[in-house]
């Protein structure tokens, strides 16, 4: 899609972003959420990279005779961002595994149900606090 000029790229980004974001907040499955999160982030990466692009500019590696390069800065930022993304995913997955071991499921609803049970188990009314005695 390199030849398509103008704002099209941004709109693709927006679409992907919406897709990923939607998965994150609507889906109950934790793994799916993480996938969505990754999707979401990737779309942001594209957003950055495409702003760094210059039409018929070359990759930002010094070569004799090439004058216009794409902007290296967004690339740098995104390199960082990608790594951050994968780091987040890693921690997230580790959490999911622990959750699975603790709850036996990775479905948000079921987990929340179990939590509610825990809470209510803990929340029986306070035993009436009797008067205090002298030392």
């Amino acid at each position: 899609m390199m030849e398509i000029p103008g704002l099209f790229n941004y709109w693709v980004v927006v679409f992907l972003m919406m897709a990923g974001f939607y998965v994150v907040i609507s889906r109950g499955n934790l793994v799916k959420k993480l996938v969505g999160l990754a999707l979401f982030q990737t779309s942001v990466f594209i957003f950055y990279i495409s702003m760094g692009k210059i039409s018929d500019g070359a990759a930002p590696i010094l070569v004799e005779g090439v004058t216009t390069y794409s902007n290296p800065l967004p690339h740098v930022l995104i390199l960082t961002a990608i790594v951050v993304g994968v780091a987040t995913t890693a921690v997230g997955l580790a959490l999911v595994i622990r959750i699975y071991e603790a709850y036996g499921t990775v479905e948000e609803d079921e987990i929340n149900e179990q939590d509610l049970i825990d809470d209510s188990a803990a929340d029986e009314p306070v035993s009436s606090l009797g008067g205090e005695k002298d030392k």
Partner: protein, 309 residues
Amino acid sequence: MIAIAVIRLRDLFAVIILFGIYSLLTAALFMDLNAVDVAFTEAAVGAGVTTVMMLSSLYLTSRWEATPKHNSLLPLLVVCITGAVLVYASLDAPLHGDPSSPVHQHVAPRYIEKGPAEVGMPNMVTAVLASYRGFDTFGETFVIFTAGLGVLLLLGIQKPHKPQPELNTVANEVVLKVVVKMLIPLILLYALYVQFHGDFGAGGGFQAGVIFSTGFILYHLAFGEIEARRVIPTCWLPRLAALGVLIYGGVGVFALLEDKPFLDYSALADDPVQGQHLGVLLVEFGVGITVFSVILLIFHILAGRSRQS
């Protein structure tokens, strides 16, 4: 598009594979947007590492996603608002690829014009990455370190149990073993190339680290866990990661001791450009080590985990 499929599908396995393909496509897109390094990383990290991690953790959890009970209207609304804002935003955005857009005006030119001269390496990305915005990369390395640490904290290291049959079937494939034996040196060699060639062509610490670790992961798959851990004991990996970060930080602190600002590589040698070059090399090396050990660590942990649950 694949994104849709990712939303629709309930089979998480397929979802993840699709996601991998999707990342590859993104990488291709990056490539064609002249973001060589980014494409490289996305391919290695997004398509490679992420997928592997997701799969192995999927193996530890359940494969099928339940049909969501709660209705997804509110989320849809939120998403639409977000999307609307974004489109709204994009309306005033400078045209894609337009050289005159402010992005290309203010800061960037300096990198492009002076970068090679000041830092002394043709790959501007590496220059910016490791020198101009070296501190970002420093932070980034710490992010990886943190991630490894987080996984370690969460899952801990299990003792390797005796390999399970289905792994043996793989492990007994003599041919495969041989192939792998031949492959691994190549991979490692390539990794080293990427590592140290980063300042000329595409690549650098991250990519190198990833490739390096994939080499070992391959070995792990082929020869089973025990073998793999004999080569590099898991308990070393965190220390190795720490070491990598320390190398990076050490360079910075060295500059401090020279009473130059933190991470000022020109402190490393008399000729600033030389110093820059040296600094970048060292730093990239540190990054490489950290990335490699963290990824391998995570893989070991996940793999070791899969035995007992």
